[in-house]
Amino acid sequence: MKLRTGIVIAVLVVVLAVVLAACSQAAPQVIEKTVVVTQVVEKEVEKEVVATPTPEAKPYEGVEVNIVTFTGPQIAEPLQRRAPDFEAMTGAKINIITVPFSDLYTKILTDAATGTNSFDAWVFAPQWMVDYILPGYMEDLTDRVANDPQIEWDDIAPFFRDFSASYNGKIYTIPLDGDFHMGYYRSDLIDSPPKTWDEYLEIAKKFQGQDLNGDGDPDFGSCVSMKRGAQAYWFIHTIAAPYIQSKGTSQGVFFNTKDMEPLVNNAAFSKALDIYNEMKDYGPPDSLNLDVGDTRALFTSGRCALSIDWGDIGTLAIDPDTSVVADKTGAMIAPGSTEVLNWDTGELVPCSEGDNCPYAVDGVNHAPYAAFGGWSGGVNAAADPKVKDAAYAFFSYMSAPAQSNEDVTIGITGFNPYRQSQFLNRELWVKAGMSPDFASNYLGAIEDSLNSPNMVLDLRIPQNQKYQQVILDTAVSQFMAGEISKEDAMKQIYDGWQELTDELGRDDQLAAYKGTLGQK
């Protein structure tokens, strides 16, 4: 009896196995496919370039492109809105697939790494791209961009062009959005915005506990997100950056490019932790649990004198649905510092323009931090060549000034300016509802930041999520909550990063880090 049952089951399992084997392809083939695909590229590009100026030709008739991004409305909205126009022009059908923001990174990587390849192109954070480039999941777009006049590549701000979209001198992503940290202040309360972090704290202290929106309740000096697992790990470097980096973008703020030593065990990072911790005293009592969504809501409902954020507050502040501070908001470049780190000694030294900080303005070194880096389009190398071309053409279409200059002025798109023409031409913004004063102030702050040769690139080496979201974030939030001392926090980050670097291979990581900074 038992034996018979066993055999019956065994036979069933074997039959099942054979059936499954028959209808599944063997996995290892993915590798070959990638290789084959890269060869086809060059020819296809020219075809695409010839095709675009004459929309009637519909070069991608019948092509379907699956593009994944997070569930909007931001970012997904403009893509969905413009997809039909693009289809009418070129014949390519664009499907926008959305997944929750928090799991986008893992979802895309799993899809690519297991060879599922259900997504032909991704609109994602360029910060993640090295994780995708090294295993060969990402298509090199350099030649396509070079042969595409429509995208007006030179119009894109140099930082996004040369650093954000590129790795090792090759272009991998098409910027659709510009993301970096800047400061916001209440222009009705503050005449001269803070230039340094020390001034920032002074002003925040002054307004803490005062009623700023006329409802009788005490309000706050500074609203900055400090929540764990949210954006805290970016804000700490926004503060630390002007102390650490003074010699231009390619210097970097995370590691010493000589030996991959983490730049966290020094006077500059220590100072940044102190400042971040002091900000807690001039903010809402539940600062430790606020993410940027919360601080934005606080700022736009008039409860904060100062805030640090991405470009989003600018467009949110003028939205009457959410904001009571439309005509009271000012924007500024992120505060800087008068001292900078001496990388050899690990101590802070005064900033002097001719010498250690060539880009200082009035003795203040600014280092605006391009945290996250701005949503960009990347193409899956394993997709069909025709599909890759169509995907590239779509991103090029989205990024071209004709489309993007309009989109960046619409709050719901979530797109922030990243092109010269977008902050030079203020008319569009006034049309979108900004007061001329705020428009020039907001765009001026963006211009100051984007034109700074000392902009800071986000960490983009393999496993950057683990470096930042796990090790850095945990230690910073433990320090902010008073669980560990400042010294322990710095040591914990230092040890954690060193351990991870050694695990992943110090030389590989160093090469990747240099690659992102454009260093050889």
Binding site: G6, I7, A10, V13, V14, A17, V18, L20, A21, C23, S24, A26, A27, P28, N66, F70, T71, G72, P73, Q74, I75, E77, N95, I97, T98, V99, P100, F101, S102, D103, K107, T110, T114, G115, T116, S118, D215, D291, V292, G293, D294, R296, A297, L298, T300, S301, D312, L316, D321, T322, S323, V324, G414
Partner: protein, 345 residues
């Protein structure tokens, strides 16, 4: 004792004294408030403009703030429509199918575990695990997984013939039951990548089938455990009488055991339905554009702009509405089950 007098007696036991009644109602009302206030907050949040939420708290529509259908409009007919309707249909189909299947398979297994004795040989099980390990190792090494499986099965069968008889130690029903429940102990995070790869190889990613099968496997242990206790509490005499009358096991199960365990079945069904209805992480990975379920849409309302409380509230409300209806509908059956329970002694 006639049924009537029994019912009468029962009333005696369960009818509370006036003081007990007052205490009972006080507790019930307090708890009702505890349960309903958060839901009330959801309901009014769904009627607020963002500005009302952010500068709040406001409690009563029309008095504190001007309610608007802005969020409802957006979720049901506006931009979010595509991310609402299809996931909604998916959720309904996936949850109902998997819960029903889990109830059928789980109740049978639970019945079997209370009425039959199984003695799986420890040796056989160890061999089986060994064979599976072999299979996994082979696959990891790079052998085509189907070949690896075939090899593993062959090794298992051969060794079983040779070795199994040497092992005398055997396991019992409780071990099977514990093994089943232990399958729920590993957090989904740990199994989601392997399950993803499994369904990818089967070409079932982004289908409802994948979700149904996964939820079925995930929820079966719970059904087995809950139903085992109910079946254990049902006296065996009735079944034996029926068996003497010549009824088969299947017949006994269907027409005697199941009707007697309606309250348990209903409660269990409700759980697994709710679990399947609300599952997030597995749904995230196994679904793409086509099979996405509603919890994903809810979680997605917290993106770069911070949580969109107003949309989230609408989504949660429309998501629980049908489950509440099912609960109200099934509550009657729990009551009916009560009567069966009363007569059965």
């Amino acid at each position: 004792m006639s049924v009537k007098s029994k019912l009468f007696k029962r009333k005696n036991i369960n009818a509370p004294s006036p003081i007990a009644k007052i205490i009972s109602y006080t507790i019930l009302v307090i708890w009702t408030f505890v349960v309903l206030f958060p839901l009330y907050w959801l309901a009014i949040t769904s009627l607020k403009h963002p500005i009302d939420v952010n500068s709040g708290p406001y409690y009563i529509p029309f008095v504190d703030f001007q309610p608007s259908l802005y969020a409802w409009q957006y979720v049901l007919f506006g931009d979010l429509q595509n991310d609402t309707i299809r996931p909604y249909i998916n959720t309904v189909i996936v949850a109902l199918t998997s819960a029903t299947l889990a109830l059928i398979l789980g109740a049978s297994a639970a019945y079997a575990l209370t009425r039959f004795r199984y003695n799986p040989k420890l040796g056989t099980i160890l061999l089986f695990i060994g064979a599976l390990l072999l299979d996994v190792v082979l696959t990891m090494v790079g052998v085509n997984w189907a070949i690896a499986l075939a090899v593993a099965v062959a090794v298992f069968l051969i060794l079983m013939q040779v070795l199994a008889k040497r092992f005398h130690r055997s396991l019992g029903n409780n071990d099977i039951a514990f093994w089943l429940i232990s399958q729920r102990m590993l957090p989904p995070v740990a199994v989601v990548i392997p399950i993803y790869i499994l369904f990818q190889r089967l070409h079932l990613l982004d289908t409802r089938t994948a979700l149904i099968v996964t939820y079925l496997a995930v929820n079966l242990p719970i059904v087995v455990w809950l139903m085992r206790d109910y079946f254990q509490s049902i006296p065996i005499d009735l079944e034996e009488t029926a068996a003497i009358d010549g009824a088969s096991r299947y017949r006994i199960f269907l027409s005697i055991v199941l009707p007697l365990s309606v309250p348990g079945l209903v409660a269990t069904f409700l759980f697994v339905l709710v679990f399947a209805w609300n599952e997030y992480l597995l749904a995230l990975f196994l679904s793409g554009a086509n099979a996405q379920t509603l919890p994903l849409t809810i979680a997605a309302q917290n993106a770069t702009r911070g949580p969109q409380w107003w949309y989230m509230s609408v989504l949660i409300l429309i998501m629980i509405a049908p489950v509440i209806l099912i609960a109200i509908f099934l509550e009657r059956y729990i009551a009916k089950g009560l009567l069966v329970g009363a007569v059965k002694g």
